[in-house]
């Protein structure tokens, strides 16, 4: 028996003090400055099409980061691998739960704007966090994969699909199997129950991300099914009251409505029957111990298969396009007016091909900064919303910090590259010797 006098226990903590390590600020994520990204049309038609492609492994097959791994199925002791297909409905529902299927933050639909990066470093539509918390490239720069995840909706979705497939394959080593009676068949959507649960987190009892369907942190009981539909549809809408997988299941069956139209056909999925010992037994509290090998369950019944047809290869080509990097200048000069006032210059770049071009820029000198250092440029085939200024070009600003200029001036380069095409353009930046002269050349614009 512990005896604790409350006053002795007291740890009066200032209101502003934080003992939690739960959050990270966005500026501690992979990008020092938020890159730009493309936001598709409001009806999410491009995003949904990309989800179908990603589900069938047609975005970047064979790529470690954006291609699906082969999926394991079968009994716990005898797993075999099969061709990878993720049920498309899960990507759609997860995408809505994670971001309302938005790749940018507060940008007009059909245009370029700041990429969506949440305070926990979740990036884009699928809110990819893993591998996105710090720059992973050489010299403190981001990698091509990080660029694609943050800026291109199709690659972001593909990365999400890859991660979900990875969660599937975590079974049986570190996750339970759903579908013990159906050979763990990944074509049965309900068999993704634990993979979807894991996509958000497999926390312990009582944790915010416990996601255990019986955990009392999720109230009330019984839970009215979750819905992504209108708030007066009689279902639940407060996401804080549901395990993650129930959000995804509910959103599949009660899809979001945009401008009076559901984003997808309602797809009713079945949750484990918690009144049946075949499911409630494995899910009992005593079994909630890593590696969760006592939590295997049969397929929730009735089970379903996603009827989405495999898209054609040409559909992938249409989404990805054939971008081509074009930087509209190869040399600029900058002259800070004095030793304290930075001098800046905007640089524009374009996409002479099709689709969405992803670019990243790296400076060779510490006195020359780039903002943003990554973004997109749109080809002429990409939808640009009517009614908004349709800017297809990418733009970055070079800034000279006079305080860091070496004696006698200096020269630097800015390397602009595209991870999709492996193109690389080098821009020379000349620093005029005098730091008291006029600010450099006029803005560089497209001829």
């Amino acid at each position: 028996m512990k005896r604790i006098t409350l006053l002795a226990l007291v740890a009066v903590i200032a209101i502003s003090a934080s003992t939690s390590g739960k959050t990270q600020r966005a500026d501690a994520c992979a990008f020092a400055v938020t890159p730009t990204a493309y936001e598709g049309p409001k009806d999410r038609s491009l995003d949904l099409a990309a989800m179908d492609l990603a589900a069938f492994n047609l975005i970047a097959p064979g790529n470690t980061n954006f291609g699906l791994p082969r999926l394991e199925k079968g009994p716990r002791q005898v797993r075999v691998s099969v061709e990878p297909v993720v049920p498309p409905i899960l990507l759609k529902s997860i995408g809505w739960i994670e971001s309302s299927i938005d790749q940018t933050r507060n940008s007009p639909f059909g245009g370029i704007g700041p990429a969506l990066i949440s305070s926990d470093c979740g990036h884009g539509i699928m809110q990819i966090t893993s591998g996105m918390t710090v720059p992973l490239g050489t010299g403190g720069n981001v990698t091509p994969e990080q660029l694609l995840v943050a800026t291109h909706y199709a690659y972001n979705i593909a990365r999400g699909a890859t991660m979900l497939a990875g969660k599937w394959n975590d079974a049986p080593a570190s996750r339970p199997i759903a579908g013990t009676d159906t050979d763990g068949d990944p074509s049965i959507v309900e068999n993704w129950y634990f993979a979807v649960w894991s996509y958000n987190g497999f926390g312990g009892p009582g944790a915010n991300r416990s996601n255990h369907p019986l955990d009392p942190i999720y109230a009330p009981w019984p839970r009215t099914p979750y819905s992504c539909g209108p708030t007066t549809d009689g279902f639940g809408h407060d996401r804080g009251k549901y395990p993650y997988q129930e959000l995804v299941w509910g959103c599949a069956g009660h899809p979001p409505v945009v401008d009076g139209k559901a984003l997808w056909q309602p797809f009713e999925l079945t949750l484990p029957d918690l009144a049946d010992a075949r499911w409630s037994g494995p899910l009992q509290l005593a079994n909630w111990l890593a590696p969760y090998n006592k939590m295997d369950i049969p397929s929730p019944s009735p089970s379903h298969k996603d009827p989405t047809q495999r898209p054609s290869a040409s559909a992938a080509s249409a989404v990805l396009g054939s971008p081509k990097l074009d930087v509209y200048t190869s040399e600029i000069s900058l002259s800070p007016s004095d030793k304290k006032t930075p001098a800046s210059q905007d640089i524009e770049l374009g996409n002479d091909g099709t689709g969405i071009l992803v670019w990243g820029a790296v400076s060779s000198a510490s006195w020359l900064t780039i903002s943003p250092s990554a973004g997109v440029a749109l080809g002429p085939d990409v939808t640009c919303s009517a009614g908004t200024s349709c800017v297809r070009d990418g733009k970055l600003t070079l800034t000279v910090n006079p305080a860091k200029i070496p004696k006698g001036g200096g020269q630097a380069t800015v390397t602009i590259s595209s991870p999709q095409t492996s193109e690389k353009k080098v821009l020379s930046v000349n620093l005029n010797g005098s730091t008291t002269g006029n600010t450099g050349v006029p803005g560089v614009t497209r001829n």
């Binding site: 915010n208 019986l214 999720y218 009981w221 708030t231 009251k241 918690l274 909630w288």
Partner: protein, 388 residues
Amino acid sequence: MVLAASAVRIIKRAGKVAFAAAVIITFAGALWTGIDAHVRGESGFAKAGGPPLLVYSEFGSDSDTIWSARADDPSQRTRLATIAHAPEYGISASLSPDGKRIAYTVLLPDAAPAIDSPADLWVMDADGNNRKHLASDADLPVAPVWSSDSATVVFRRSDSATGRFQLIAATMSGAETTLYDSTDGLLPVGFTPAGAFFFLRLSPKGSDLGVIRPDGAVDDAFAHLSDDFVRDWHLSPDGTQLSYLAARTVGETTSYGAEVLDLQAAPGATLTASAVSTRAVDEFSPIWRPDGSGVTIGRLNAQATGAPVLQIVAPGGPPLRLLAAPSQGFDVPLSWSPDAAYLALRSYEGSSVTDPGRSWVAVAGADGTRRTVSPSSDVDVLGWAGGG
């Protein structure tokens, strides 16, 4: 009273209904005048002599609204406060025992919309005025729990990096006191009028009840409630009993049954929980009558034929029906008005825990009529004002 941890295992007495006093409910009109010690005080918005007012929060995508509504006509409602929050993540609120304040956890609009984003703890007058920030880094889904004197609230803080949970008491000035800290999942249960604070501890070993007594003595193994999850706990108004739901499996069927635990066993005695019923049917939300004379539960129809009904429980005799069966589905009780003249409930369209269907909150009167509170399903009943 200090109990040894080894002496607090619960023995479930299957096939026998005990704690008659805990579960006796009658529906005689004269007995609908119980007094709820937890919702007694007059608040600024409750008019003396009028019908009791149901206080509830209603979820909205970007902001929640707190309303008071007449029990006899919930369409007559008054907006008390609007609380902006991060998209799709509503507040978790509770009304103070004196009915004068509302405490709530909230993800502010610019916070990352995720269940584990650090939330803020706020308090305001029940009429929505005088909002005050009390604490940061609170856990959103855990509603704050008030002390009986309405002077402090207990909230939960957790750290996913270390896996630790803290139950923290905050005064109305924002001073914090850590009451208990553990790697086990912690959830606040409630305060007794005498000042003891009960909490739940979740681990793979099961659900354990802990207590911090008014003198500061901590017993983190006061009672082992179940080897599995428990939920929907409610302290009796006098703080001497705890009702809750515990899982029980009979054959291939698992159900949640209501149980009642006497918290006042003699020192050294084994604490014993009694099942309100021994039938293997799902029971819901065992809430206490305002005078503490017993619990009211929702229950699915045992024969699975006909419409399930909300029932009140009288041991030793047939269940007494409180309400006519809904046209379809089943009812779950939420909260009695202080005068026991009205019962807030949630009515489900579906037929089972697995398929509960749509639901709405309604207020039922003594004559059996029920009136829907809101067209939205996303309603949390916080308590009552007036009607005491």
